[in-house]
């Protein structure tokens, strides 16, 4: 059963352009492409959600994710465009094939659901939020990689 809605109906020209760019970010993550990120993200991007050390820049987050989950694949579940804002809900699948949080690869395959919010300026992402939807804790639990000390560390960093 298809449970996900259609893309924004009758978007304005600006909204349509922003949706194209938001979807290109999915491609950037799937193709491990720093070049595509550079085409989509304003160099002065402000991200309001906590990130793991070393992943403040979007392209660096791709690299960290790829190291643990080389086959990680994102697909769109829903997009909503509203003026200069876009919400993107995604589904991802992957296999834990590299070390993560000091945990060796488990070979576990997983499915995760999350989302991103972006504000655009001149066609580029200038602000970003993901803390409402980032399934970081759920991912670690599924991989059996969340000992008590890591819960504390994630908690302290606002990463859970």
């Amino acid at each position: 059963m298809t449970v996900y809605p259609n893309p924004t109906a009758n978007p304005t020209e600006t909204e349509a352009r922003n949706l194209v760019t938001m979807r290109k970010m999915i491609t950037a993550f799937n193709e491990n492409s720093r070049d595509i990120v550079a085409q989509c993200v304003d160099p002065n991007l402000i991200s309001y959600s906590p990130h793991q050390p070393g992943t403040e820049r979007q392209e660096d987050e791709i690299a960290v994710q790829r190291a643990a989950f080389p086959d990680l694949y994102y697909s769109e579940e829903i997009t909503i465009a509203d003026g200069d804002m876009v919400f993107l809900g995604w589904q991802s699948t992957g296999t834990h094939s590299g070390p993560m949080l000091g945990t060796a690869a488990t070979g576990v395959r997983f499915e995760l659901h999350g989302g991103e919010v972006a504000r655009f300026r001149n066609g580029l992402i200038i602000e970003h939020w993901d803390h409402w939807l980032k399934p970081r804790g759920q991912c670690y639990i599924i991989l059996d990689a969340l000992p008590a000390e890591e819960v504390s560390r994630l908690q302290a960093g606002g990463l859970l």
Binding site: V3, Y4, P5, N6, T8, A9, N10, P11, E15, I78, I80, A81, D82, M85, V86, F87, G89, T93, V108, R109, F110, E111, L112, H113, G114, G115, V117, W129, H131, W132, L133, K134, P135, G137, Q138, C139, I141, I142, D144, L146, P147, A148, V151, L154, Q155, L160
Partner: protein, 162 residues
């Protein structure tokens, strides 16, 4: 005539307001389309009053009391509305078998609704995020609790694949 986006945003705000009265996942009858479908994780606990597949709130109001939902951000087109929120409450009742700690929690979450004829016809949420977040804040996210979440479908649509 008001913009459809604005009326959809107003509807989303009514839902948040209802949650402050009745707890998360409550859908006031006047806002629910007769054919409303809600896409939640595998069911536990609470059953929907509308005969739809049962749904579970992120955090039961008996456990996290004084729940107060506040809007962080709303994004809407003519049909769909995304609502990002945060909730504050206090752990004053048994939560998944664990006694009250008395601790406060602040968690983040989001919902998407599709509106037809001024009523919600579809509803999606990502509620496992706020549940895991709260358990971490309360010091209850130990190995046993993690197993409990997995075994009872409390990680939402997030899952281990075969």
């Amino acid at each position: 005539m008001p913009d459809t986006r604005d009326t959809n945003k107003a509807l989303a705000r009514k839902i948040l307001s209802a949650w402050n009265q009745r707890g998360e996942t409550h859908m006031p009858e006047e806002l629910a389309h007769p054919q409303m479908v809600r896409y939640f994780a595998p069911p536990v606990g609470m059953a929907s009053a509308l005969g739809q597949p049962p749904v579970a709130p992120a955090l039961p109001v008996t456990a996290i009391q004084g729940q107060n939902y506040q809007e962080d951000l709303i994004i809407a087109d003519a049909e769909y509305t995304f609502t990002a929120w945060h909730m504050t409450g206090q752990h004053l009742g048994t939560l998944y078998g664990r006694p009250a700690t008395g601790l406060p929690v602040t968690v983040y979450g989001a919902d998407v609704i599709r509106v037809v004829d001024g009523q919600v016809i579809q509803h999606w949420d990502w509620y496992s995020k706020s549940r895991v977040q709260a358990l971490g804040q309360l010091g209850l996210l130990d190995a046993d609790m993690q197993s409990y979440l997995i075994n009872n479908g409390l990680l939402g649509r997030n899952r281990k694949l075969p």
